[in-house]
């Protein structure tokens, strides 16, 4: 963890969820800023530990290891599953936390190695939230099925950390976990936090700067994860209904909303709309930035 004073605000940095994370704070005593930074980092790591599918002691691992038997989950996990369930319904099945198994077939390494159609077909029966039985507080997955909360975990962590911080700190706060971020409100000086949106194909090059006083930004898309064969580019957003990458998806979508979970879901859902991503976002009435 690292905390430094930047003229008129604190900047705290830590690593969590395999991303560089930041905490921006309006003026406060240094001990206070350290305390808040510590709290933010601890909460981020708690959520990471609890919901990472890579860790054997995580809740997600326990659910995935259920092998057809019901697994009882705690309150917080249940709320996330309720939320995922809601997202699944709202998106007409496009947003599906069981679609992660398709990664066994798809490896987006920039090469031209597409999986065989049979391989994808064999995995498709394992995809589909409607095949999971979510009967709170118990979830039952068919053998071979898996859930992955990676699509909402980071955004959830941003919202959680922000709400923890504003309970303790009345001045302005911005929480940034690897580009998904949220600001609590106007700064004492009246100024906004300035947030840059990067060109996804040229990392570190901001092409837009946004004055953010309150609200959340979340981005979906990763320009480095794709396959390309016979002139067709396959982005890494997989359509759970086909098992194949969404055709015509933007390289990245950034959405501004009140909460980070909301922004993240809308950004992902826009990607899943492929060529119609922009039109979808317009109908949602949210500020957005789409790169193609």
């Amino acid at each position: 963890m690292d905390l430094r004073w930047e003229g008129d605000h604190w900047v705290g940095a830590f690593d969590a969820m395999a991303s560089p994370c930041q905490l921006l704070l309006d003026p406060a005593p240094r001990e206070r800023a350290e305390e808040l930074l510590d709290l933010a980092a601890r909460e981020a790591r708690r959520i990471e530990r609890k919901f990472s599918r890579y860790r054997e002691d995580s809740v997600v691992h326990a659910v995935n290891a259920g092998a057809g038997a019901p697994v009882r989950v705690d309150e917080e996990t249940a709320r996330l599953l309720d939320f995922a369930d809601r997202c699944y319904r709202l998106s007409g099945g496009r947003f599906d936390i069981t679609s992660g198994v398709l990664r066994r077939a798809w490896v987006f390494d920039g090469s031209d190695r597409l999986p065989s159609a049979e391989k994808v077909e064999r995995l498709r029966p394992l995809v589909g939230w409607e095949r999971a039985r979510w009967s709170p507080p118990e979830i039952t997955l068919a053998p071979g099925m898996e859930i992955d909360l990676g699509g909402i975990g980071k955004e959830y962590a941003v919202d959680r950390i922000l709400s923890l911080l504003v309970e303790r700190f009345d001045s302005a706060v911005l929480v940034n976990l690897g580009g998904d971020l949220r600001a609590s409100g106007p700064r004492a000086s009246g100024a906004a936090w300035v947030v840059g949106i990067e060109d996804p194909s040229a990392e570190g090059v901001p092409v837009r700067s946004i004055d953010l006083r309150r609200g959340a930004l979340a981005t979906s898309g990763d320009a480095r994860r794709f396959l390309e064969k016979d002139g067709t580019r396959y982005g890494h957003i997989l359509d759970p209904l086909t098992g194949w990458p969404v055709a015509g998806a933007p390289r990245s979508v950034t959405v501004l909303a009140d909460m980070c979970t909301e922004a993240g879901f809308l950004a992902t859902l826009a990607m899943l709309h492929g060529l119609e991503a922009e039109r979808f976002l317009e109908t949602q009435g949210v500020s957005h930035w789409c790169f193609r």
Partner: protein, 483 residues
């Protein structure tokens, strides 16, 4: 690289890129685009996800407060409260405690009417006495009481959406003790946008005033020898006097258990049903109904009624009361109350309004309106103005006095709390978060209570105030921190 932006703040969206050509590959039929409904549905879902913080970081909180309530020339109450709640692990289980200590000093209207002579009043035993000057509202200033109350609650999740809680409360005063137990069940529905609550509680109270509780409508005993004179008042206020074979023995009340004579008891059973509804992400509506049934000794052992001579008597107008009777109330009371409360969060501020309607089988009907607005300043502080309006009708048996020679009614009380009245409270609170993260606040309020003054009664001295206005000031300091 091409960037397309859309902004809700602009008059029109920056033109989005239209779909270029047919989408590649075969796609299964999809649900149609659902427009804004996605966002609307999402709002409730994200609130449910983030709103109910089951955090590890904030496991508990302790609130402390000191309250000073002071009526002009009357009662002053100093009260300290410490309460806390703490979650046990992440299971949703929680324990809570509450400790209250208060000290009451000063005088309270005893129910008798003003008279054109000095009036002397005694306790049920006749042991302690106090006097009231001519033309003044009789006030019992022998009050000096301390109360200690303690309570504990246990909250237990029952499944993922339901919660049960059990509470126990006890309180002690020199002449009053109470024990109460309660249980509440709550259940969340519809993505936690709706919460239903049902509860029941019972309390068992025991009144044991100095010298025993008086018999209903019994005459106030004459002062014991040596008691009642103005000169003795000060001493008597703090203690009592006991005549024994011509000698006077002074006994201070603190040494007197006050348990001689008959103690009385009452039981109260309450039922509660309520619903809390999240209207939108910023608005919460709550409606509660409570039914409360009390049986047993419901009178106040310190309240009297003046018995005035019948009007038209030769010397009736100025003779003053022929005596005083202790009050009598029905031995059962059923109260109903409906409380509606709405809270709305603005971008930073918060407004709350509540209305309570209460009615009972004693004929008391009351309305309470309470409005507050939390104004969040830039920086760590907030201001909260508060207004409360209250109005009640009198109990059927409320009587300002009894008339000599007339048959006694079934029940009668001159306790101003059962009379017609209107009160208002205005106040302002300032609170802030300290650099330590602890929260501190100060609240200052003014309270006034008025009763409609009926036409002057010839049996009480003209110019005396039968329904005096009560004014009070309230100052409260509070301090909270995480536990």
């Amino acid at each position: 690289m091409q960037l397309t932006e859309g902004h809700v703040t602009a008059d029109r969206f920056v033109a989005g890129r239209a779909a270029a050509g047919p989408p590649g590959g075969e796609r299964p039929s999809r649900a149609p685009l659902r427009g804004l409904s996605i966002r609307e549905g999402l709002t409730a879902a994200t609130c449910a996800l983030i709103g109910m913080g089951a955090g590890v970081a904030r496991a508990g909180e302790v609130d402390t407060a000191v309250l000073l309530y002071s009526e002009a020339d009357r009662v002053t109450v100093l009260e300290g409260v410490v309460k806390g709640r703490r979650e046990i692990g992440e299971s949703g289980r929680a324990v809570g405690f509450r400790l209250t200590v208060d000290a009451l000093t000063g005088a309270s209207a005893n129910g008798a009417t003003p008279a054109d002579r000095v009036q002397t009043f005694t306790s049920p035993s006749g042991r302690s006495a106090y006097t009231t000057p001519t033309g003044r509202t009789p006030l019992n200033d022998t009050f000096s009481d301390r109360r200690i109350a303690a309570g504990a609650t246990w909250e237990e999740p029952l499944g993922r959406l339901s919660k049960g809680s059990l509470g126990l409360d006890v309180s002690w005063e020199r002449d009053y003790s109470s024990f109460a137990a309660s249980g509440v069940l709550s259940r969340d529905l519809f993505l936690r946008n709706t919460t239903l609550v049902a509860g029941a509680s019972g309390s068992w109270d025991r009144v044991s005033p100095r010298g025993g509780a008086p018999e209903s409508f019994s005459w106030m005993p004459p002062p014991a020898p040596g008691g009642g004179g103005d000169d003795d008042k000060r001493a008597l206020a703090g203690g009592g006097t006991w005549a024994s074979g011509g000698e006077e023995v002074w006994i201070f009340e603190d040494d007197d258990e006050g348990s001689e004579g008959p103690a009385k008891s009452k039981s109260t059973f309450d039922l509660l049903a309520g619903i809390t509804q999240v209207i939108d992400r910023a608005t919460i509506l709550q409606v509660n109904y409570t039914r409360s049934r009390s049986i047993g000794y419901l009178a106040d052992p310190y309240k009297l009624l003046s018995v005035l001579p019948a009007a038209g008597g030769e010397s009736g107008t100025l003779a003053g009361p022929v005596g005083y009777r202790f009050e009598k109330r029905p031995d059962a009371r059923t109260k109903h109350a409906v409380l509606g409360e709405a809270k709305h969060h603005f971008r930073r501020d918060m407004a709350g309004v509540s209305y309570r309607y209460m009615w009972d089988d004693w004929g008391v009907v009351s309305h309470t309106i309470d409005v507050r607005y939390l104004w969040q300043r830039d920086g760590p502080g907030f201001w909260e103005p508060h207004v409360r309006l209250y109005r009640q009708t009198a109990a059927d048996f409320y009587a300002r006095f009894l008339v000599d020679g007339e048959p006694l009614p079934e029940s009668a009380s001159a306790d101003y709390r059962l009379g017609e009245m209107a009160t208002y409270t205005v106040g302002l609170k300032y609170g802030r978060v300290l650099p330590s993260g602890h929260r501190a606040g100060i609240r200052v309020e003014y309270y006034e209570q008025r009763s409609e003054e009926p036409a002057g009664d010839p049996r009480v001295p003209s110019g005396s105030d039968l329904y005096p206005t009560v004014r009070a000031g309230i100052v409260q300091l509070d301090y909270s921190f995480d536990w």
